[in-house]
């Protein structure tokens, strides 16, 4: 059997039908330079040592693999382990590829970093590494997200980043990506575009997978120590797919390890034209070519990209990483979705049982774990990626659990 692990990091950037580099000619030389620098860097021990040093001494890796004993007992089936990526610096796995790309940008002599962000988590991690590496930073954010994610805008600005509210289009993540690409077209030489997931043109899917695969590598070692065996199931939420690729990658050549990707089911799997009530690309998506790559996209019959919906900004995206599209077609991963209405109950259950607040995004994976665990045998093992911690969702969770008192509290400041 050929190694899937190797194939999904291959230098062509094509994964079966998916991936590629569908960009205006203007950006091609920039991507070629980035690709060359990336493959040279990962062959360079000094680069990898520097990255490992940042992982452990800046971000706090390895993150714990926690046995959820109470949750396991409550659900009465498989043993549940939680990979706590929320304990990274800045609160989520995003810092992994931000550190990797910032090191690469430094190697390329770039002076400026730009990034897109939806909820603000990737923007925050980008602003953080820019501060750490002494680079200028501009973060593009859809105007709608800019308004509803004020706390993250505040943090990014404190870190010295310039946050630009993008007024064009639907004023969401997609528009922020377009704005960042336009910035790169205008400033191709001194700027590095720190794209925040395993989407976009080659080499981004490969590069971000490479910087995220540390998650799965740690899980393998930790579980070997704790249980002496491989997991039976890996479960991760999928927006663009960076945390899922991070967890899955190291296990791709272990056929006994099953993998489940959980997308945002939003208000349910229905749509009208280019308006989708969800962000479940594997349910209603069609193959398309957008923002530089070929994959599944939520789009209408004419190829116009759709508006998506989800309670979690990090999953609210119309496209999905090309490597995941390939793995789905291959049958190597299964794809399910969690509805907005299922999220709060799961969130509360994890808090009460294990004392951990999961991010809304990661809670999507948890919803599937709660469904799956009781169906499995007691000696089976599920590892789910708690890709981020829930602190950032304070303004969403309070509206659900304690709206009146929390809003009264906020009133005091107006």
């Amino acid at each position: 059997m050929t190694s899937l692990k190797h194939y999904l990091l291959n230098g062509s950037g094509h994964f079966g039908l998916y991936g590629g580099r569908y960009l205006p000619e203007l950006l091609i030389p920039i991507m070629e330079d980035l690709e060359k620098a990336f493959y040279a860097a990962i062959d360079d021990h000094k680069f990898l040592e520097e990255l490992e040093n940042l992982y452990s001494n800046y971000s706090g890796r390895p993150t714990p693999l926690t046995f959820c004993e109470n949750l396991t007992r409550k659900l009465g089936g498989a043993k549940i382990f939680l990979k706590n990526e929320g304990l990274n610096h800045t609160g989520a796995h995003k810092i992994n590829h931000c550190l990797g790309q910032a090191l690469l940008a430094k190697r390329l002599g770039k002076k400026r970093i730009i990034a897109e962000t939806g909820a603000g988590q990737h923007g925050l991690a980008s602003a953080t590494v820019a501060a750490k590496f002494g680079m200028e930073c501009t973060v593009y954010m859809g105007a709608k997200d800019y308004d509803r994610q004020r706390p993250n805008v505040f943090w990014m600005e404190r870190l010295g980043a310039k946050v630009v509210a993008v007024e064009e289009g639907g004023q969401i993540l997609r528009d922020a990506i377009s704005a960042a690409l336009r910035d790169l077209i205008s400033n191709p030489l001194d700027t590095h575009y720190l794209l925040g997931t395993v989407c976009g043109p080659h080499p981004y899917p490969v590069m971000n997978t490479f910087f995220q695969k540390i998650i799965g590598i740690e899980v393998r070692e930790q579980l070997k120590k704790q249980e002496g065996k491989l997991p039976d199931y890996l479960v991760a939420c999928v927006g663009g797919g960076s945390n899922a690729m991070g967890l899955f990658h190291d296990f791709l050549d272990d056929p006994e390890v099953k993998m489940i990707a959980v997308e945002a089911g939003g208000k349910g799997i229905h749509s009208k034209g280019s308006r989708f009530d969800h962000a479940a690309r594997f349910q209603e998506g069609e193959v398309g070519v957008v923002e530089g790559f070929k994959s599944y996209f939520l789009q209408d019959a004419n190829g116009q990209i759709g508006e998506t919906q989800s309670i979690s900004a990090g999953l609210d995206y119309s496209g999905v990483g090309p490597q995941l599209a390939y793995l789905k077609d291959l049958g190597r991963i299964e794809a399910y979705f969690a509805l907005d209405t299922e999220i709060m109950e799961a969130y509360q259950m994890l808090a009460e049982q294990e004392g951990i607040f999961a991010a809304m995004e990661s809670t999507h994976a948890l919803v599937e774990v709660i469904k799956l665990a009781p169906k499995l045998k007691k000696d089976q093992i599920i590892v789910f990626n708690c890709s981020g911690r829930g602190d950032k969702d304070l303004f969403i969770t309070t509206q659900h659990f304690d709206k009146k008192r929390f809003n009264a509290f906020l009133q005091q400041f107006t």
């Binding site: 094509h14 039908l17 590629g20 580099r21 569908y22 960009l23 205006p24 000619e25 203007l26 091609i28 030389p29 064009e168 289009g169 997609r174 377009s178 690409l181 336009r182 077209i185 205008s186 400033n187 191709p188 030489l189 280019s274 069609e286 193959v287 398309g288 070519v289 957008v290 923002e291 530089g292 070929k294 996209f297 789009q299 019959a301 004419n302 190829g303 116009q304 990209i305």
Partner: protein, 248 residues
């Protein structure tokens, strides 16, 4: 004589008005018109054209409307018309079907900025265009390396669209001063006519561009003129006529 290419966004502000605007351009003496099929994510376009795309989509403009628009225009003008759009539109339509339909309504070629030559083994875009007798217009930039210019020169047909500077579309006061060097570098590898565009907005610029290039491309500037009320089309007509003396 040197040539001018102008641009409309089909369906902006309405299908009927974009049709009238294209006819005004043709009557005023332009040599080529790009008919942009609106797309939700036009990454290579600046603000003016991007907003026009959005309006056209809000009006419900479909690729089929654009084909019909071109068919009607071809009955009224003989100048070459091209479809400009992003790759997802023909990809979703079915690339071969799209090429067939574009040829049937009289298109001269396609301008699709986000399908670089490297993807040819995967999508066969150039092959399918040529099979259906359409020019797959290649778009290059001032930072395209010589090695790529050589490869592009081998497949280019019709003309080659050279983007000035490192920018998205949109008018600007100063053109990059080194555009002469840029074009001479390109000419070494590409022996068909060169169109120069992105940011041209005055007669002086057209004159400067046409000293080196064969075709001057004017996009955003004309779109903006057409927006003036009530005499937008008239201003477009006068502007294009005023450029004609720069073309000799």
């Amino acid at each position: 004589m040197k040539q001018l290419m102008t641009h409309i966004v089909a369906g902006y502000p309405t299908i009927a008005k974009s049709q009238q605007l294209a006819l005004t351009m043709a009557k005023s003496g332009v040599s080529f018109i790009e008919i942009q099929i609106p797309f939700s994510d036009p990454v290579a376009d600046g603000r003016t054209i991007m907003e026009a795309n959005q309006v056209a989509l809000e009006n419900g403009t479909t690729p089929e409307d654009c084909f019909e628009l071109m068919a009607r225009l071809k009955h009224k003008t003989h100048i070459p018309l091209l479809f400009m759009t992003y790759f997802n539109i023909p990809f979703r339509y079915g690339l071969e079907k799209f090429c067939e339909r574009a040829k049937a309504v009289g298109a001269y070629g396609l301008i699709i900025p986000d399908i670089p030559i490297d993807e040819e083994p995967y999508d066969h875009y150039i092959k399918l265009c040529k099979k259906h007798d359409l020019h797959p217009i290649q778009v290059i930039s001032s930072i395209t390396p010589e090695e790529r210019l050589k490869r592009i020169g081998k497949v280019a047909s019709g003309f080659v669209y050279c983007v000035t500077g490192t920018r998205t579309t949109g008018e600007r006061k100063e053109l990059d001063s080194d555009s002469g060097d840029y074009l001479s570098r390109v000419r070494k590898h590409i022996r068909i006519p060169l169109a120069l565009g992105f940011g041209i907005s005055s007669k002086k610029q057209v004159k400067a561009v046409l000293k080196k290039a064969d075709i001057a491309v004017i996009g955003s500037k004309i779109l903006k003129l057409s927006q003036s009320c009530p005499s937008g089309r008239d201003r477009v007509r006068r502007f294009i006529l005023s450029l004609n003396s720069a073309r000799i």
